[in-house]
Every structure is written in structure tokens, then in C-alpha cells.
């Protein structure tokens, strides 16, 4: 039986217990899947987990608190679930994690760059996977691209491609592409002079349309309708279309995610204007990792910034 068939069976089995299983189904074009909410056994027919399974189903779990819900989960999705559980935002016993070996997901912007001379991604009529390549059917003929060149950046530094703590695991485990996150992207960025970094963010944020897709796509952004960014009383953030306020929100967002962000990258992927907002969160994730020896969604225990101990074991105050 193929892995897809096994996954469908696992979903049907989970439905005996869970009211809904969240996975991925066909999307609006050949390069995109859409989140799929399966409530009846026949709904599983449309499930497909693989290279196009970009979105993070853990995002929806807080909405379903109080009823049992299952998610088909990549490694990163499962880390979001674990972080939600560790913060008591969802109950572990209310979630069924159906894991499979994730070999990375597509980055449509990278496809756009590769296809620049051929067509836009939206003109691709079909995608066929052939081993380590994908073959795209375009109006100008077939284009073969190695998957490695169009895979999301987060996947190349992934240490946990298989759902940790899966209730059901389907198929073989995937090999982790990396042993550790070396934060090479962040190191390179932070090596730039402050003025250049400031100029970079001002330029990037200048095209922000303030749609808050970054916030709403974040599985750990659970304030939802009560976000400080749009609170009018008190009116913390101006409604003006200025870089200052847009940048201010990103700083708020990243600060609220310090020690909570699992690096799923949905904020950046969701941004319609292609602003690399994950970098803000990575800056804080690295600090938390170094200060508290804590990786959100991976390490057990209360997240460090949600509690305190009189003596932080990893902070050597007297050595400073």
C-alpha cells in the first residue's frame, strides 16, 4: 500500500475518535495545496501529504479546543502542537498526531525565481514528482527542477522531519537534513553594519500592507481577536502607513514569540509581500536556545519565559 493510502486509512481510523482531521487537499493551482478538513471518511479521499503540504494544521487546533481533533503532521507541525500543549493552549489528550516522514516542502517563491524566463507559477498546469526532481508542465513545455533548489529554507536546516510524539506514524521515518540549526542566515545578517540592517528592514517593511497574515498564520499567536497591534483602546500602534509602525508590530510579534516560536516559518510563507519576517523570530529563538538551553516544541518543561527559577541553571551570572 502506498504511503498516501496508508495515511488515508489512518485518517479514517482517527475519525472514529476525532470529530475532524486536518490535512491537505488540492489547491487553486498546480503548486499549491489547501488545508483540508476531513469530517467524514469519504473526505479522506482528497488527502495528499507531501511536497505541497506547506501549511501548518496545528494553527487551527486552539479553535477546536474541547473536542478531539487530529492533524496530519510534518515534523514542524508537530512541534507547534507540542508547544501549544506545553503552554496549555491545547490539551494533549484532545489531539491525535498522525505523523509521516516529511522530506521537505515547496517554496513557491523559489519556483517563481527559477521559472522567471518561462512563465509565472500560476501558469504551471501540473506538477509531477520524479525521484529527487519535479517536472512542471508549463505553457512552454516541461521544466525539470531538482527539489533541493525549490524546497523551503526551513527544511534544509530541519532536525526533526518526523513528528515527535506522534500517536500514529505512517511509513518510514525521513532522514533529518541537519544535526543542528547553525543560524547561518542570522549570523550573516548580523555581521552587517547596523545602518545596513536598519536600511534593509525599512526597505522590506515599506511594502507591508498590514494584513497581519504573518500573525494569523502563526500557530502560537493565540490572542487572535485581541491583538495589541489592533487594539484601539489603548491605541498602541498607529494606523498610519509608515515603516515605523510596521516594524514596531514585527518587534512586538517576535517578542511575544520569544522562546515559543518553533520556526515553522508560516509567518514568512503567509506574507503576500514576501517580507522575510521569520528572521526576527530566529534572532530571539537563538538567544533563548543559548540562554536557557531550550528549543520550543522540542524540549520538555515549561517554556523558560513563561516561568522563572531563582537560579537559572544555564545563566552564569557570576561569570559575567
Amino acid at each position: 500500500m502506498s504511503i498516501q493510502e496508508e495515511l488515508k486509512q489512518a485518517v479514517r481510523a482517527a475519525l472514529s475518535d476525532a470529530a475532524c482531521v486536518i490535512g491537505w487537499g488540492p489547491g487553486p493551482d498546480a503548486l499549491r495545496a489547501t488545508p483540508l478538513f476531513m469530517r467524514g471518511e469519504e473526505d479522506a479521499d482528497a488527502l495528499h501529504a507531501g511536497f505541497l503540504s506547506v501549511s501548518n494544521p496545528a494553527l487551527y487546533l486552539p479553535e477546536y479546543k474541547g473536542s478531539k481533533t487530529a492533524v496530519v503532521a510534518k515534523g514542524c507541525d508537530a512541534r507547534s502542537v507540542m508547544q501549544l500543549v506545553s503552554e496549555n493552549l491545547v490539551k494533549r489528550e484532545e489531539v491525535v498526531i498522525i505523523g509521516y516522514g516529511c522530506k521537505g516542502v515547496i517554496d513557491v517563491d523559489k519556483v517563481a525565481a527559477k521559472l522567471a524566463e518561462v512563465c509565472e507559477p500560476g501558469e504551471v498546469t501540473a506538477l509531477r514528482e520524479e525521484g529527487e526532481d519535479v517536472v512542471l508542465i508549463t505553457p512552454k513545455g516541461e521544466v525539470r527542477l531538482p527539489k533541493s533548489g525549490i524546497t523551503a529554507d526551513k527544511c534544509s536546516r530541519c532536525r526533526f522531519p518526523n513528528a515527535l510524539d506522534a500517536d500514529v506514524f505512517v511509513g518510514e521515518k525521513a532522514h533529518a537534513p541537519a544535526d543542528e540549526d547553525d543560524y547561518a542566515d542570522l549570523t550573516a545578517f548580523e555581521a552587517l553594519p547596523m545602518e545596513e540592517r536598519q536600511a534593509f528592514w525599512e526597505k522590506e517593511m515599506s511594502r507591508c500592507i498590514r494584513c497581519y497574515a504573518c500573525r494569523n498564520a502563526c500557530p502560537l499567536c493565540v490572542c487572535r481577536d485581541h491583538c495589541v497591534a489592533t487594539s484601539r483602546e489603548p491605541h498602541w500602534v498607529s494606523q498610519a502607513d509608515g515603516v515605523r509602525d510596521k516594524l514596531f508590530f514585527q518587534v512586538i510579534h517576535a517578542s511575544h514569540l520569544a522562546g515559543r516560536c518553533t520556526g515553522c516559518g508560516e509567518c514568512e510563507r503567509a506574507c503576500p509581500m514576501g517580507i522575510p519576517v521569520l528572521l526576527f523570530k530566529r534572532a530571539l529563538s537563538r538567544r533563548v536556545e543559548r540562554l536557557f538551553a531550550y528549543r520550543a516544541g522540542v524540549d520538555e518543561g515549561t517554556p523558560p519565559l513563561l516561568a522563572f527559577t531563582l537560579d537559572e541553571p544555564t545563566i552564569k551570572e557570576r561569570d559575567w
Binding site: 489547501t34 500560476g122 511594502r207 494584513c211 481577536d225 498610519a240 503576500p272 509581500m273
Partner: protein, 352 residues
Amino acid sequence: MSGSKYIAYDALPSWLAGLAREALVYAPRREGKAVTYRPLAEGEMPELRQRPTESAKHVVFPRSEALFTFAKTPGKPGVSLEEPEEPGRVVVFGALSCDARGFFAFDPVYNGSGTSQYPSGALKDPYYLKRREKTLLIVRACAAPLATCFCHWVGGGPASDQGADVLATDVEGGLVLRAVTEQGGALLASLPDAATEQENAAAAAHAGAEEKMGEAPDLADAPKALAKLFENTAFWGKESAHCLSCGTCTYLCPTCYCFNITDESNGIAGARIRSWDNCMSPLFTLETSGHNPRIGKAARLKNRIGHKFSYYPQLHDGRFSCCGCGRCIKSCPSSVDVRKIVLEAIKEVANG
């Protein structure tokens, strides 16, 4: 198709720079992974390969604009108010035909023409009209649709010149430009005439693009169907399950025209601004009492779809408040598909 002009791609930056001496010229510009409509640098080539991520509406309806500024002088009574500067002339080069048609949804709301329900006495919006009247659109016809395009479902077409001042069409080596309005013609004065074969090539490109659009379903029943489904929470719950309730669809939409007004002050000076608002946000309907009649994303998505395909057409002679650009589908982080929802609504009601 007589009287068209031609410009080679190579000559485009200098021609646009020439236009920029008379007006603020916006054009598609690649910025990172996105394509925006922005003023180009002198001599810069506009992005002609990838269609703009955002619509051109911000040119006429800025993301935020000061209605006036206010200041108080310490120790003196009263507040001084200042009007903003008058907007100048604007030319948008490379707007898509859907972008141009998008303004048709704005116009009756802001130009005081009223609606079938409120035929007279509607107020004119001077801020919108000042910019609208001074903006010329050079529309660039699309050669082929994206999977998310559906302009022909809602009265448009890939090479439609509706709302355009100039229609530009890609031919070998450059663009054939045809004036649609007199003001548009004035923009083309310095350009040489197109050869007959170039004009023919442009016409063939239009026909080719239209052919690629495929069949358009009949949406005539959409307004009634959506009205009937107003109370159907199961339908809207299902359709909105994957929606994130963010503002991407609304803010990229060429026809979404809602705004919010706030006073933004710093100390004793500030501005009253109006800025884009969107019905996917909980604050859109939050009342002063704290009550919110539209709780949850299902009710919000229902409003967005209902507004475009039912409430607006009921007030505006059956015209949809949608130009079919498909940006709401293409850029939606969770691929909510407005086409699918409208068709399912029609089907749901037809099947009883």
C-alpha cells in the same frame, strides 16, 4: 485598430521618465519576492514578467491618508487645522485590465451617484475624487491567465480596455499602445505610429488571450443564493474552516474600498487619518459597547463574499464588486477560493 503607437521595450524607461516629468508615474516594480506598483527610479525598467502582487488601488485610495493635521500651540486657546496638499497628476503604467475595472466598484460608492436604494443625496468623497480625476491608467493586456484568474466571469477580459486610458499590448520587441481616452492619447504624443502588422499582432494577442480563458460559469443566481444562505451557519462554517481571517484578500483586492478613521497624535499635534480597514478583522464591526455582531471568521468571510456577490450587486444594478483578478486566491495563505464558494452557494441553493 488604427492610430496605435509603438514603443520598443528598450525605449520604455526613457519614455516613462519623460512621463514622470509631468506626473507621478507608478509602474510594476520587483521588490524582493513581490511586485508592487511604485514610482520607478530614473531609467529603471518596469517588471514585465511577473504580474503585480498588489492591485493599483492605493494610487487612488492610499493605505492611509491625512484628512487634515491638527496642532495646538501651548498657552494659546483653540486648535489649528491644516488641509493636506492637493494631490498631483498620476499615471499608472502597466495596470492590469482587472485593476482598471476594479475602480468601477469604487466609483459609485465615492462619486455621489448613489445606489438603486439611495438614488439621490449621496455624498461625494472629495479625497477619492481628487485623486481619481487626476489618475490615468495605461493598461497592459494579459497574454495568458493564471490558474487563479477569472476576470471573464465578472464582465472583464484579459485585454479589456474598460476603465483604461491607454491599452498596451505586448508584441515582438515592444508594446503597441492604443489610446482609449483623449487624455490617454496625449500621453502617447511623442511615440511613433505602430506598423499595420504590429497592430494585427496586438489584435491576435487579444484574441489568443481571450481564447485561453475558457468557459465562464453563469453567476446570475449568486446574489439570491448568497442572500438565502445568510443564516446557514453550517455552510459558512465549512467554507471558512481554513480561513485565517487575515486581511490579505481585502488589501490586495482592487475593489475593496472600506476604511477606518483615527486620530493619530503625538503630544499636542497629529493628524486625522483614514486608513484601509477590512471586514475580516474583528474590529471592523466592534461596537463601542463592546458588543460585536460579527463574531468569528465564518461570519466575516460570509460578509466578504456576500458583499461582493450579493449585497453590492443588489444596490448597483447587478454588478459584482469583484473584477476577477484572483489575487485573493493566489496570495491567500490558506488558498481560500472565492470562485469555489460562490459556485457552491449557487449549487447549494439550487439543490435545495
